[in-house]
Every structure is written in structure tokens, then in C-alpha cells.
């Protein structure tokens, strides 16, 4: 006749799993990486001349080594950058001193006037990374707002809620037109 086996003492089980839990808490980190994604231009072949760009199609943002801003050779403040960039890229009144637009056939959107404007960002070697990122952030904000506006008028949804095809169409209509010059070597360390 088999005896009844006594119940296993499992009170230390919780201790063991607590230990494991503590270990994993120590070696792992929860914070996910956030940031701004960009694409670098491929290296230029040396014998190719840079294409001519008309002055109305370019908006120069310069940052000096003291983190001060110049928009098209005038002093500017970071708070105004987003609105200036939106005005430049959008050119809602078709003014002659702001960029030209090229009507382009885009799937889902039909014919859309794509701006030829390029924001040229130049920074000094002494500019702080903080300021540089603030500028990039403001420019991204301008582009994101324009994309949001377009997608709400055309699709009735925010840009982030669009499906992939719609998003591609909006991306073609409002590209990330930021060009970065090689940094100048004056001042700073």
C-alpha cells in the first residue's frame, strides 16, 4: 500500500523567482531609444558640379558657434524657425520670392504642387549639439505639421494614422527637404 506523499514545500519557490526577477531588473533597461531619424546624402563624386539652385528656392539657416541663428542673413530666433520654415515650404500665396512649385502626379493625391524649396542648414564646428538638435527638431516639427494638415484635408486622418500607401503619397508631396552643408572651420574647438 503506497503511502500518501507529503505536499512539497514551495515557500522558497517565491524567493527563487524573486531573485530571478531582481536579476533581470538589474541587467535590463526599459527606456526605449527616441530621437530624430535622418538620411545622409551619399558621397559626391568629385568631378560633379553641384546643381544650380535659384535663390528663391533656398532658405538658409545658419547657426554660429555661440548658438545664434541667421535665417537668410537676418538674425532669427529659434521660436520663429518653425513658422518661417512652414511659410517657406508651403508658400500658400504663391509669392515670387518663395519657392516655385511643380505640379506632380501622385497616386491617391492626384496632381499636387510639390515645392522645390530646400532648407539649407549650415552650422559651425563650435555649435553645440543641443542647439543643432533644437534646429532639426523645429524643422521636423514644421514638416510634420504640414504633413498633418495635408492628410487631414485629403484623408480626414492624422499623418500617423495613415496606412503605408497614403503615407508614401504624403511623403512624396511634402519631402524632408533639408540639405546640410559641410561645417565651416572658423572658430570653436
Amino acid at each position: 500500500m503506497a503511502r500518501k506523499t507529503p505536499g512539497l514545500n514551495t515557500s522558497s519557490m517565491s524567493d527563487i523567482s524573486f531573485l530571478l526577477l531582481a536579476f533581470f531588473l538589474m541587467v535590463s533597461n526599459i527606456n526605449s531609444d527616441m530621437g530624430i531619424a535622418r538620411r545622409l546624402p551619399p558621397p559626391l563624386p568629385e568631378d560633379v558640379e553641384p546643381p544650380e539652385v535659384r535663390e528663391r528656392n533656398i532658405f538658409v539657416v545658419m547657426v554660429n558657434k555661440d548658438d545664434r541663428l541667421l535665417f537668410n542673413r537676418e538674425y532669427g530666433r529659434i521660436d520663429d524657425l518653425k513658422d518661417r520654415a512652414k511659410e517657406f515650404l508651403g508658400n500658400p500665396e504663391n509669392r515670387p520670392n518663395l519657392p516655385e512649385k511643380i505640379p506632380t502626379e501622385i497616386p491617391l493625391l492626384g496632381t499636387y504642387d510639390v515645392s522645390k524649396g530646400v532648407i539649407s542648414l549650415r552650422n559651425d564646428r563650435g555649435t553645440s549639439y543641443d542647439m543643432y538638435l533644437q534646429v532639426q527638431n523645429e524643422l521636423t516639427a514644421a514638416i510634420n505639421e504640414m504633413r498633418d494638415e495635408l492628410s487631414t484635408t485629403r484623408f480626414g486622418k492624422k499623418y500617423t494614422d495613415l496606412n503605408e500607401e497614403q503615407r508614401k503619397a504624403v511623403d512624396t508631396a511634402i519631402p524632408v527637404a533639408i540639405s546640410e552643408a559641410e561645417p565651416t572651420k572658423i572658430g570653436g574647438k
Binding site: 523567482s17 535590463s28 531609444d33 530624430i36 559651425d124 533644437q134 521636423t140
Partner: protein
């Protein structure tokens, strides 16, 4: 009253701890799923700048990190007090980036290689000269998808 006081006080029964381990295991799995392993310890101090338009970095397995910042106090004897670059576990020079990118590329399978992103994790005090040098090296080595690490912050008004 006498009926109650006369009796001996009953002992409270022991709490059943059997399900305790289940609960803790559940917690354990929860944390294991939502976290990522810390890859390498940092030798440089990084306080990322803040931005309001930051997005999440997708596909972590296809990301290689370049850390830039001033060496930590206990490393300063060895590496100085000027901002340095850390690739994987080593403090490196700008010229090492090309080899680093090549190594990272070879670790991934062929189909994934076009999607490799290089995340630049830099301290906000770092000067742009250094970042630009890194960007030029990345251009040279063909790692064109980059990502500026920043923490989420409110819009500055």
C-alpha cells in the same frame, strides 16, 4: 460573555503561499518581455538633448550605436576630459568608424544590410565639429541611415 472568554483563542491558519511564486513569475516574464538587455557599459557621460518631435527607434537589432561624450570621472585619467567616441566597448578615434561600420555590417545577414541604422548618442554639450566628422566618416562608409538620439521633451516656448 463567559461562553466566549472561556474558550482558548484560535490560531490563525498559515497563509497559503503556493500561488506567490506564480505571481512573481508573471512579473518576471512581464519584465523580461518589455525590457532589452544592456549591451555594453558606457565610459562616457551622455545627457541627450530634448526634442518634441522625437520618434521611437525601430528594429533595435539593426542599430549600431556611436556614443559621444566626456569620459566619466573614473575614466578621465585614462581618456582625458575632452569628448570622446565610444564604439561598442572601446573608446575610439574618428578614423575607426569606417572599420566599425564594416564590422557591424558583416554581422548582419545580407537582406538586412540596407536597413542598418547608425544611432548617434551624443551629449548635448558636444560641439558639432565632432558630430560632423562622424557624419562624414559615415557617409564615406555608406551608412547613410542615421538617428540622432534625444529624449522626449515638451516644446520650448
Amino acid at each position: 460573555m463567559a461562553r466566549f472568554t472561556g474558550k482558548k483563542a484560535k490560531e490563525t491558519p498559515a497563509l497559503n503561499m503556493g500561488s506567490m511564486s506564480d505571481i512573481i513569475f508573471m512579473l518576471l516574464f512581464f519584465f523580461m518581455v518589455i525590457t532589452t538587455m544592456r549591451e555594453s557599459s558606457l565610459y562616457v557621460k551622455i545627457i541627450p538633448p530634448q526634442g518634441s518631435e522625437v520618434v521611437k527607434l525601430e528594429k533595435k537589432s539593426l542599430v549600431s550605436y556611436i556614443n559621444v561624450g566626456v569620459p566619466l570621472p573614473d575614466q578621465q585619467k585614462k581618456y582625458g576630459t575632452e569628448p570622446r567616441i565610444q564604439l561598442n566597448d572601446m573608446i575610439s578615434e574618428v578614423s575607426d568608424i569606417v572599420t566599425f561600420v564594416e564590422l557591424e555590417r558583416n554581422q548582419r545577414i545580407e537582406a538586412d544590410r540596407p536597413y542598418i541604422t547608425t544611432a548617434i548618442k551624443a551629449d548635448k554639450q558636444v560641439r558639432m565639429g565632432m558630430i560632423s566628422d562622424i557624419k562624414q566618416e559615415l557617409r564615406k562608409s555608406g551608412a547613410l541611415k542615421i538617428f540622432y538620439n534625444a529624449s522626449k521633451g515638451a516644446r520650448k516656448k
